[in-house]
């Protein structure tokens, strides 16, 4: 189609044109579009796209559609933004006021610019004019106010977007919104980027589960529960018409998806590390950068019974991992690259803290595979292999603990097994168990677990390191890590009135926390996809993928081009 349309345009001016030439031009054109998008100059991109789509319309005779498999998580939850859909930030139906760019900085989306007051209590957003929802109603400040108030009213339904710090949201004319906070809350911009706007006139909490109406490049044309979601172009999209008219997101098993890709029925297929050494005709493997890390929680308390604020009793702690020597020896002594090679066929990058593509993440990297140093730490702490079975002991206590690879996640199980193999070198025995999340959550305060974290918002530091989170929420500070200095640094980060101060405080909190190794960071995973050679997924505008088991590839769906 593209070939034809470009040929037509060329034909008018050049009279004679070869089909091969036409294709080359088309490809060049796409690359330019992608590159311009990368500069985040929205206006230029819009103009560029307008010209492309105009030429398309000239010779458009067939409908273009692609079939994609991006894992099952998109089918698991409601598509309603008010209930937290796609809040990790990759809009395609509903859009937020701002969005993260490829460097994890925030850029305009439905807002054109914004201002934060000196005291960091007032955020003012100027909104884009001339935007309409896919049902034809205009987008105004009223919709923004409605969306935020709706989430606040139903906060219990939305665990991803936390608006408890928001005091009020008010419209100032049609294209200006003013947010007022109760107290300083530096991650507020993250919250704004996570909440996509719904129309105040047509919002319906039930129908939006499967058929949300938004301002994005695509709209949901059909939703078949646990089968497929069909997206079609939203004709009134403000950012120009996307190239691909229809996208079918298909739900299936990983192995079925792979064999469908082999038989040529899928254009994009997300694959686990099992498949990355395979080749598929006319498809290429793309490994995309993520901000997703896998780490292992190492409980820092000794075994005991503790109470939460409601007086419920919990068994907490682990007598082996509560010794900082064990935690430190593991952190510096294991060979992360070898673990990744063994578990993931080399897919992923070694990580000792959160990823460097996040502005608030710690950059204090250290060498691992210091086997001798690690052994010395263990021996100094009294862990000695006296009975010659390859596992150290301290008195009657064996240097051995269980590790839960939770859920139905083959990759976490492989990672846990590879870690256990590697820890044998240090004389530490790790018994890997695969358990359902139900069981894992019950044991989260006593048994190390393989976790996955990947998000724009630094609030993850609060939930994983702050002592006041211990026992108060699922997944939160499961190690029982308690350090007043760390808590104070987190407090400082929340209260910071500008981003630079906040990021510095977040890094300080991580520096304090990581010095006691409550988490054993292992790998910054990569997302791998087989993509048809004639499909350009615009890698230059792909954001670092947040946690999402493969679905984040559609973050820039509107920039994809089918040749």
């Amino acid at each position: 189609m593209k070939k034809k349309s470009i040929s037509l345009v060329l034909g008018a001016s050049l009279v004679l044109s070869l089909a091969g030439c036409g294709q080359e031009v088309a490809t060049d054109n796409n690359v330019t579009a992608a590159e311009q998008e990368a500069t985040t100059d929205n206006n230029a991109t819009a103009v560029e796209k307008e010209t492309v789509s105009a030429s398309e319309e000239a010779g458009d005779d067939s409908s273009e559609s692609i079939n994609v498999y991006i894992g099952g998580s998109i089918f698991d939850s409601s598509m309603d933004p008010v209930k937290g859909f796609m809040s990790y930030g990759y809009p395609f139906v509903n859009e937020a006021l701002i969005q993260a760019d490829t460097t994890s900085e925030y850029v305009a989306d439905l807002a054109t610019d914004w201002e934060v007051s000196e005291d960091a209590l007032t955020y003012t957003f100027n909104l884009r004019e001339g935007v309409t929802f896919s049902d034809g109603t205009p987008f105004t400040a009223e919709d923004v106010v409605f969306t935020y108030e709706e989430v606040q009213k139903n906060q219990a339904n939305n665990e991803n977007v936390d608006l408890t710090k928001l005091k009020s949201v008010e419209a100032d004319g049609d294209y200006k919104v003013v947010f007022t906070l109760n107290e300083c809350y530096s991650p507020f911009l993250d919250t704004v980027a996570m909440l996509q706007i719904v129309p105040s006139d047509s919002y319906n909490s039930e129908t939006f589960d499967t058929a949300p109406i938004g301002t994005g490049a695509y709209k949901v044309a059909q939703y078949d529960t646990n089968q497929q979601i069909i997206l079609q172009i939203n004709d009134s999209y403000w950012g120009g018409t996307p190239d691909i008219e229809q996208v079918n997101i298909i739900s299936m098993d990983q192995d079925t998806a792979y064999s469908n890709a082999v038989s040529g029925q899928l254009d994009v297929v997300m694959v686990g590390s099992t498949y990355i050494n395979e080749t598929i005709d006319s498809m290429t493997l793309h490994k995309l950068e993520t901000m997703d890390v896998r780490n292992v929680s190492l409980p820092t308390l000794t075994e005991q019974v503790m109470k939460d604020s409601q007086g419920n009793e919990y068994n907490v702690g682990n007598n082996v991992t509560s010794d900082i020597a064990v935690r430190k020896a593991l952190s510096i002594g294991i060979n992360r690259q070898e673990i990744i090679d063994n578990a993931f066929n080399g897919e992923g990058k070694p990580a000792v803290n959160f990823t460097d593509n996040l502005p608030w993440a710690s950059t204090d990297d250290y060498e691992d595979n210091q086997v001798d140093e690690a052994k010395k730490i263990l021996e100094d702490a009294g862990w000695i292999d006296s009975d010659g079975d390859g596992i150290r002991e301290k008195g009657d206590l064996k240097c051995s603990f269980d590790l839960i690879a939770p859920g139905n996640d083959e990759d976490r199980y492989k990672l846990a097994t590879a870690l256990a193999e590697n820890a044998k070198n240090l004389g530490i025995e790790i018994n890997v168990r695969n358990e359902s999340w139900d069981v894992a959550v019950v044991e989260e305060n006593t048994t190390p677990i393989v976790w996955g974290w990947g998000q724009f918002s630094p609030t993850v530091i609060y939930s994983t390191y702050d002592s006041e989170m211990f026992l108060e929420a699922q997944y939160a500070n499961v190690t029982g890590y308690t350090n007043a200095d760390c808590d104070a640094a987190i407090e400082k980060a929340f209260a910071a009135s500008n981003q630079a101060d906040a990021n510095a405080a977040w890094k300080e909190a991580q520096a304090i926390g990581d010095s006691e190794y409550p988490y054993l960071y292992l790998v910054n995973i990569e997302h791998s996809y087989f993509v048809k050679d004639n499909l350009d997924i615009s890698e230059s505008t792909q954001i670092p993928h947040p946690h999402g088991h493969g679905s984040p590839i559609i973050c820039n769906l509107k920039d994809w081009v089918l040749n």
């Binding site: 192995d255 064999s259 099992t274 063994n342 492989k414 590879a418």
Partner: protein
Amino acid sequence: MRNTSLWNRRTRLTLLIVLAATYLLAVFFWGLFIDPSEYGVHYENKLLAPSGQHLFGTDAMGRDMFKRCIKGLSNSLVIGLLASLVSSVVALIMGIASAVFGGFVDRFVNLCVDLCMGLPHLVLLILISCMAGRGTVGVTVAVALTHWPSLTRIVRQEVLQLRNTQYVLASRKMGKSYLTIALTHMVPHVLPAYLIGLILLFPHAIMHEASVTFLGFGLPKEMPAIGVILAESMNHITTGKWWMALFPGLMLLLAVVLFDLIGETLKKLWNPNSGNE
């Protein structure tokens, strides 16, 4: 006409049973006492095709599939054994009680049997396994608690026949207790049918354990089990690693067929008249 040759049918059948039982016992004990490192992780041997060194090849973690199969089958046999024991005791008690007492007890037992047989077996297994906390315990309890109904029916039928025989009626008139009658007159008669039923339970129990595990409601991933191995191999079958599914599947099939063979053959040996039925 008598066949006096050494290789008459009876001898051949006995030999068959001995061979089959030897194979199964060998797998059982080999698996029971195998050193875990034999089927442990060896990353340098990832995904090797079958060879002299690794008869069934290796998997994505370099574990020897042959040794894993042996250990897995052995685990299945342990569960099958437990399940058969529990099921058979339940069946024996329920069957005899039902036939001897009759009336309300009989109706109650029949109700239980119908209730269990009315539900799809796999659904019942998954239900019980989940309720009992999944994992090894869950699947063992589920398999043990769901295989008694058919055996109960067999035992009940046999006992019903016996109940009206002259010697049972006579010993009742002579004032023998129900328990004495059950133990001295009924159990010995029921025993052959019961033992055959017991052996024929094994293949069911093993198959069901493997299916429940395959579906993810049974034995955990870290335990070698045929169900786990087959579930894992699903991810590799599309990329042409055929050995990960084929050999474990065959091993399971062989074990099941052999148990069936032993049961059916024993039936012929102990009750030759069944051929005329």
